[in-house]
Symmetry: C2
Subunit: 423 residues, 2 copies
Amino acid sequence: MKPRSRSSQGRLLYAQSGGVTAVINATAAGVIEAARAQGVKVYAARNGILGALREDLIDTSKETASAIAALRHTPGGAFGSCRYKLKSLESHRAEYERLIDVLRAHDIRWFLYNGGNDSADTALKISQLGKAMGYDIRCIGVPKTVDNDLAVTDCCPGFGSVAKYTAVSTLEASLDVASMADTSTKVFILEVMGRHAGWIAAAAGLAGEGADAPPHIILFPERTFDEDAFLAKVKATVERVGWCTVVASEGIRNAAGQFLAEAGTRDAFGHAQLGGVAPVLAALVKEKLGYKYHWALPDYLQRSARHLASKTDAEQAYAVGRAAVDYAMAGQNAVMPVIERLADAPYRWKIRSAPLDKIANREKKLPSSYVTRDGFGITAAARRYLSPLIQGEAPLPYGKDGLPKYVQLKNIAVERKLAPFKT
Amino acid sequence: MKPRSRSSQGRLLYAQSGGVTAVINATAAGVIEAARAQGVKVYAARNGILGALREDLIDTSKETASAIAALRHTPGGAFGSCRYKLKSLESHRAEYERLIDVLRAHDIRWFLYNGGNDSADTALKISQLGKAMGYDIRCIGVPKTVDNDLAVTDCCPGFGSVAKYTAVSTLEASLDVASMADTSTKVFILEVMGRHAGWIAAAAGLAGEGADAPPHIILFPERTFDEDAFLAKVKATVERVGWCTVVASEGIRNAAGQFLAEAGTRDAFGHAQLGGVAPVLAALVKEKLGYKYHWALPDYLQRSARHLASKTDAEQAYAVGRAAVDYAMAGQNAVMPVIERLADAPYRWKIRSAPLDKIANREKKLPSSYVTRDGFGITAAARRYLSPLIQGEAPLPYGKDGLPKYVQLKNIAVERKLAPFKT
């Protein structure tokens, strides 16, 4: 039976927000496939919320089913994302009103905003303003962040894949270091993402278990960096094991609260832009202990490595996209599909609806019960939580050229109906 | 028919040398499996040539067939490697004589040295000294280097996998940058290995083709870094495409011949130890053009990423190991199994024997015909050469825990027969 067309009831707008992930496009695929099955046309905002403000919309109905299916294994943001936070409703009411104008002009009745806690806040405000302005819009937040720091949900789509990348890379690089330590590098430092929450750093701990297995030291942003304790543990590890692998979160701070690697610049959300704590630590090791070091900073490689995605993560990313459409069609508003854990081992999960106001602008840090007493490792509780999230592989199609077959959408623009708006 | 045992004819010693790769253990598997099939016992030197000098030998016959087979998909060096170059025969004759003593004490009649051009030189010297000292030893060099800079052979085992890692990572990170460029990072810089030869940097060029496809700029160590031309191309690319991906070899130098990222320290071979050209370039872009940047430096991750190995590379690494045993058993001496290309497309290759004195201490740089006229890209000839080397995937077994199933050998020591020797 062909699904009843709901196009007469309006269109659905989907937008990606903030840093992209290896699986955010799997969420897009979930949204578009679920909406198509319901006969609802999906527009996507080009470059996130900016596309909505600029009335720069993409008609996803121009894409083939196979192109949309290929989004499930294509990293990056297929429609573009942005770092642009809407200001408060009071000070920037014009921006919110413009959004409602664009939604109204294109008969958009459902707005799905795929991002982190800032985006959940924006979606919440739009849902409230729609009501105030007499425009019936359903806003659904869709979770996404490699930082895994959203409240309420058990985990965040995007995190499991960066966690797997980090654990596997830690293991592989440690095998390399172990081979060479007798005459070469003794200390290897891997810097990972995570401004305020040490979830990615913690995932590196899955690479090995036991005092002699890598990583020997994890530095979490939730713990103040203690130079003496760090150097003592590096020294003890090199003397006992022969080498030492350190995984450091970009966001670690000293006792004065300063980032060890403060770059001095800030992004559009006002967050400090970091990078480069690994060379700071390496220089410290060299100066104080005299060990030969190497360091790595995979940066965007870690969050775009779809070739090493977690199956669990890819499936959850797709599922939240589908669920968001279901909630929207069912008339829900100001909610987010979140992941609820039913069991650790074997891992079972389901998707449920949670109110955005419990999620917006909150930040879930690593629980202290997940960090060992010395502050340099993860506990059994952390392993129970993290391990299922990197389980399973999500194989890619590769071309004869040896490269993954990533899709490039046509991204055909919807005709504009309004005057330009200056953001 | 069971193969005739050759154990009465002596043993075979295998050693790994220099920086390890994602597939050097596949070569070890080829060596051990081919020797076992001939009834020859294989010892491995622990930590490369140092193990031979220290009489620290590993009896590989204590390992199961399945453990040896698992080496085909395990990165790092299973027996340990080292950065230790034997000095000249004239000045350090005692070291060479010690090697012959160890070989003699353990009835080692074949020595397979798995490394780059320094190791080919060592193998050549040992073969000559054996003759001079009246000890019948056959020395075979076995090629390995991510740098792809060995003479004679068409390519080097280890390179195809780092090439694939680099091309895929360039593609993936570029999809990320493209998504965000409107409001975030405009210039992304990936620093790759390659002290003097730009093979790895060139491989990044496989990520895309055409002026607008990433990488937009490749910086080769064979070309003098021209700051003005670089900045002009970054600017033009950002203005035309919206963003720009740069891949920089660690070994690029300025007009004065200085490394842009000279760390000031040197390894045991006297090579300058590099790292950190990416932040130098990023600071330049920020200062002169004002663009927001990100940079990545995967370091050991790139050469240990067995999870993304090239099938071509993994097969060649295994094949050179088997061929080395065949040559040794056939009585060849001072040779290396090299890869000969028979056709580009479809790619065909074979292994043949080449004399070590044509390989030792030489360095194959990127031909100038592989670099575009502006010095920032690769030519069609380079693509024809590079493309087959990243073709095919070499899937791994993963555990239920989501991690690759890498093998850890027992590495049981052979009993010593000689007095200690101070290296």
